[in-house]
Symmetry: C2
DNA sequence: GTGAAAGCGCTAACAG
DNA sequence: CTGTTAGCGCTTTCAC
């Protein structure tokens, strides 16, 4: 026989469909006895609930939104593209995903904005913004109001029950350090560490992971104090040329911010007798090109597509009061070399057959 | 207004539900005129089809099976685990996934087995077996009979329209070579290359990719001829000790087969004055432990969970006559270092919140 | 060629 | 506390 349905359950347990439904959804108002009767039938028949049918009956639509910074460079654009793509493919499943580039730099602005969101507008939001007390507060309120929340990329999980989708930044920093250490085996020296700003929690964590590995496993190398570009080309030029002049023993550079273009472009213009080992974060058109051209030795990345789809799945699960499948939602720290960039980068042939199937 | 339904379409186009359905599913027997009328309504209303409802109405169940080798070591076990896990989570979507460890080493046995499968048993199969003319033939027949087919890990795409889910093995070999080359910068020398057998297409491709990069980018190094273990411990010991004795300049080892335990264990027992840079494929309990313990410098892996879920999604799409979403189904070549193994390996805390959501 | 009506598995008012 | 009934959006006979 095919999969048993609620009807079969009702018959087996000697109750009506409505009662089966009540038990299935843990709704109150059913005698303990009947509950067990139904549950027995469930296990006996090996009943598995048909979620699509349930959602159809509920005519449930999930209204989700991604709230992103208003300003950003290539990485943000990549994330955006994946959101748009994912929005399309989730639409058939009754999940409406919108995208709003509204978050400013001021934590208060962000908090004020979040305060306007209610369950009438949205069922869940995914927020990409730096950690701040205001933000933590605002997300807690949002959740109390009944809006599911996940933090994208940056944030601390578990503290208030808000999920975080993104890589472990300490591990990412450690990975960068390991690569630099190994790549510099023949020429250990000083390491330039460059960030947008070290005020962001994720930057600090990356730096911590980085330092741990360098100190512990590569005693011949020294990671210099972090330089902060603040996104300013002039300043970047100044601090980099200054640092390179002061430290002739620099053999490597680590750019730990998500937007690596500015420091990498400036770095490329600096004179340097030795070829420096350089590692940056996130796959963008820019880092990809540099990697293929030999101007970058490795890229530490998190797959933006996975990131977005994972955030959507987690939100959906939370909307239903379900727990996400942790093993599926873990975002891997990818190491990209010129050789494992995959199709998107430079090859023509997909491994999927181009024509229709069976 | 909420998302328009078929009913709205019918009204807008001045036809019945049945006709809308015929157009939606490209069924014959509709006047050209009415077809365009419906299509106009579709675009005008921005109609998006509700797939769950469609599947419910069809009471479509997808019966898929993974056909795996009867014999294998840890990597196969990992794949198996993921199949079982995926089977559970896809069950709610009406996708029944079974697992059969039935494939032997003989291509004819495999072909004979595939010949017994009909659309009455299964809607799609995912086959993990080495390339062979018999297999290609058998899969082609299967597809003709109306059973969707994807090849797992090994195979050639597009040739007969059969999809292949797995990494690009040439790129994987190239990635291994790049890492070995860079890690050996201070001590270039000869590289031991070890395989189960070089009769498998994927082994050959990895070797090709490996050689290309070594030759082109690391002229100071030499990749020795491939040694074949044939899964035999005695033989492995003999050929390895022989090779190490003959080539005192060996500074690296590349194990290119999916099951790396045997050669790595034997290699560990071999005396060696210099610490060798060692790289192997696939994440298993064994390679993970070795990586963390420093006995392995990197692991080139394909995420078994993605692999399995991707195979299922592709089969499902083909069953429906849809094209899979290529960007989502590309399997990344992961590089694993001790630092980016992630939660599963050694950490306790998940980044997902442990308690219920909004 | 096209339409009417029943039903997929489940939920959500209502009655009782 | 429990059952009846009418759908959710789409497909599928079977008539017309």
């Amino acid at each position: 026989m095919l999969r048993p349905t609620t009807k079969d359950l009702a018959k087996a347990a000697g109750v009506s469909l409505a009662t089966v439904d009540r038990v299935l959804n843990g709704r109150p108002g059913v005698r303990e006895e009947t509950v067990t009767a139904v549950n027995t039938a469930i296990t006996r028949l090996g009943f598995v609930r048909n979620l699509s049918a349930a959602n159809l009956a509920r005519s449930r639509v999930y209204r989700l939104a991604f709230l992103l910074p208003a300003e950003g460079d290539q990485f943000l654009a990549t994330v955006e593209n994946h959101i748009v793509e994912a929005a399309k493919s989730f639409e058939t499943e009754g999940i409406q995903v919108s995208l709003r580039r509204v978050l400013g730099k001021d934590p208060h602005q962000i908090a004020t904005l979040l305060a306007t969101i209610t369950p009438d507008d949205l069922d869940g939001v995914s927020i990409l913004a730096p950690e701040s007390p205001q933000l933590r507060d605002a997300t807690a309120r949002l959740r109390e109001r009944g809006v599911a929340v996940v933090r994208l990329l940056a944030g601390v999980a578990q503290a208030d029950g808000t999920d975080v989708v993104g890589i472990d930044n300490r591990a990412a920093g450690a990975t960068a350090a390991r690569l630099i250490g190994r790549f510099c085996a023949a020429s250990p020296g000083q390491i330039l560490v460059i960030a947008d700003t070290m005020n962001a929690r994720d930057s600090v964590e990356r730096r911590q992971g980085f330092d741990r590995v360098i100190t512990h496993d590569f005693p011949g190398m020294v990671a210099l104090p972090s330089l902060e570009t603040h996104g300013d080309p002039e300043r970047t030029r100044a601090i980099l040329s200054n640092s390179l002049a002061n430290h002739p023993g620099i053999t490597a550079a680590y750019v730990l911010s998500a937007e690596a273009r500015l420091p990498l472009e400036v770095l490329a213009q600096m004179p340097g007798p030795v070829r420096r080992v350089t590692i940056a974060h996130e796959r963008t058109a820019f880092t990809e090109r540099l990697l293929l051209g030999g101007g970058l030795d490795a890229v530490i990345a998190q797959n933006a597509g996975h990131l977005v789809r994972s955030a959507i799945r987690v939100l959906r699960a939370r909307c239903d009061g379900r727990a996400p499948i942790a093993s599926q939602e873990e975002i891997r720290i990818e190491i990209l070399l010129p050789d494992n960039l995959g199709n998107a980068a430079h090859q023509g042939g997909l491994r999927l057959a181009s024509s229709g199937g069976a």
